[in-house]
């Protein structure tokens, strides 16, 4: 049977090619796959399209990816007040940005995970977000069509994993991680702790193993902003 457990962070990201579309979990400093991000920096994958709520906090989180110029395009909701490496590259037009309302970012990723081909929403109608999008009336409301966001990889952070890939998240470090796990072709989870199969109560599994393809334990950087 295919083993999901990886011995090192570097092995877990070793096959991520240039040009990959990658989702990165985390919000507000919590639940970022900081150790996988560092491994991806070591690997040096270029021309990444990143999907992430923010664009890093100084050198922390995605900041390192922008500092190293590994990202060419980012789909984000709130680049953030301390995303200086991103903002520099953005001002220099070295990186392009698609700005998406936060809930719609979640729903577009969820649509990809759920095998839905698009959805209508009132969110963003009449705003810059609606530019270039189909608009129509549905249920008496002006709506725009939003399309799924897929990814080749999702790098996520969880608290516990069993060896099958069942995950739990701690407190508000859950945030985007379970959604991205569902949306990517290959989901790579860095976790605080690996527990024996059967340890996590089946009722309390937060991401079922079916969505998780690689697991690596990382005791390093928990917060990196």
């Amino acid at each position: 049977m295919k083993q999901k457990l990886y011995a090192s962070l570097d092995e877990a990201v070793a096959d991520i090619p240039d040009g990959a579309q990658i989702m990165f979990g985390g919000f507000g400093g919590a639940g970022f796959p900081n150790n996988l991000i560092q491994a991806l920096a070591r690997k040096g994958t270029k021309n990444i399209t990143a999907v992430s709520n923010n664009c890093g906090t100084r050198e922390g989180e995605l900041g390192l990816m922008f500092k190293n110029n590994q990202i060419k395009h980012v789909i984000a909701s709130f680049p953030g007040p301390h995303a200086n490496y991103f903002q520099e590259r953005f001002a220099a037009k070295e990186v392009t940005l698609e700005l998406v309302p936060q809930g719609i970012l979640c729903e577009r990723m969820r649509a990809a995970g759920a095998g839905l081909q698009g959805f209508y929403t009132t969110v963003g109608v009449g705003t810059e977000v609606a530019e270039g999008k189909e608009e129509r009336l549905l249920e008496g409301e002006r709506c725009i069509l939003e399309l799924p966001i897929h990814a080749d990889y999702a790098l996520i952070k969880a608290q516990q994993a069993d060896e099958l890939g069942n995950l739990t998240y701690r407190l508000a470090a859950r945030n985007f991680n379970p959604i991205m796990a569902m949306a990517a072709k290959t989901t790579i989870a860095e976790v605080e702790e690996i527990v024996p199969v059967g340890t996590i109560d089946p009722e309390h599994v937060m991401t079922p193993a079916i969505f998780v393809h690689r697991i690596v334990q990382a005791k390093g950087l928990r917060y990196a902003g």
Binding site: G28, G29, G126, T127, E128, V129, L171, F176
Partner: protein, 254 residues
């Protein structure tokens, strides 16, 4: 009330581009020098709008101060778009857990009965009409209740939307807390927003350092004015004709 002499003082449509209005420049100067409410007082006033038992989201800026001013006799369940319902006060030094942060990245406590969930469910709550009240900051509100609050025109940085558009689309009641004018004295309550929009016809109530104003189908209804201010004076600093239906009471804080 229409015809009460306020009409003449209405600022024309695009107040941003003509910051000082020729017709009432002197009057406006006087107004701008008068003391206004502090940001904390705007928050304190907004706190009174929250019903007991309400599910509430507080946005960045002034709204984030509201939790400090809740009347003691009511319980409100604060929602955070990163997946928390039932946030309590900010964590004190030493009790911070950086996995338990609000949408502003500030470590918070929980009240009993709190819950965690993923971010799609968090925004589902906002967008799906489950929040009773949301309070956002604002750059501009139009007379139809359009809101601009996420990007300053001409800014060089990327801007950032966050959860505001989902909230604007879905909250049962949306309150905007903001200063009544820009630092340059231009009205932030305008005929038509000139800043990038957050949502159309989404604002229900505007609470500023000068007034409480309700957005109704018939127009903007002045409900309260700050101590020391008259309806006429507030009108001078407002880019839209306000409807004044009664003797306007002073803004209350308890």
């Amino acid at each position: 009330m229409p015809g009460n002499g306020i009409h003449e003082k209405v600022m024309p449509g695009n107040a941003i581009q003509q910051k000082v209005m020729p017709g009432n420049a002197i009057q406006q100067k006087v107004m701008l020098a008068k003391p206004r409410l502090a940001r904390e007082q705007i928050a304190q006033r907004a706190a009174l709008e929250l019903p007991d038992g309400a599910y509430v989201n507080l946005g960045w800026g002034i709204p984030n101060l509201i939790a400090d001013y809740l009347p003691k006799e009511i319980t409100v369940y604060f929602h955070s778009e990163n997946g928390i319902l039932g946030m309590g006060r900010r964590a004190k030094s030493g009790e911070e857990d950086f996995d338990q942060v609000d949408a502003m990245k500030v470590p918070v406590t929980l009240i009993p009965g709190a819950s965690f969930f993923h971010q799609a469910d968090a925004h589902l709550m906002s967008r799906g009409g489950h929040l009773d009240v949301a309070v956002l900051g604002g750059f501009q509100v139009s007379e139809k209740g359009d809101l601009s609050n996420w990007k300053i025109p001409g800014a060089k940085d990327s801007g950032g939307i966050g959860g505001a558009m989902d909230i604007a689309a879905g909250a049962k009641t949306l309150i905007v807390c903001m200063e009544h004018t820009t630092k340059d004295g231009a009205p932030k309550i305008v005929k038509k927003c000139t800043y990038p929009l957050t949502g159309l016809a989404c604002v229900d109530t505007i609470i500023t350092d000068l007034a409480v104003i309700d957005v109704k189908p018939e127009g903007l209804i002045l409900r309260e004015v700050a101590r020391g201010w008259t309806a006429e004076e507030v009108q001078v600093l407002t880019g839209v004709q306000l409807i004044v239906r009664q003797q306007i009471p002073e803004m209350s804080f308890a």
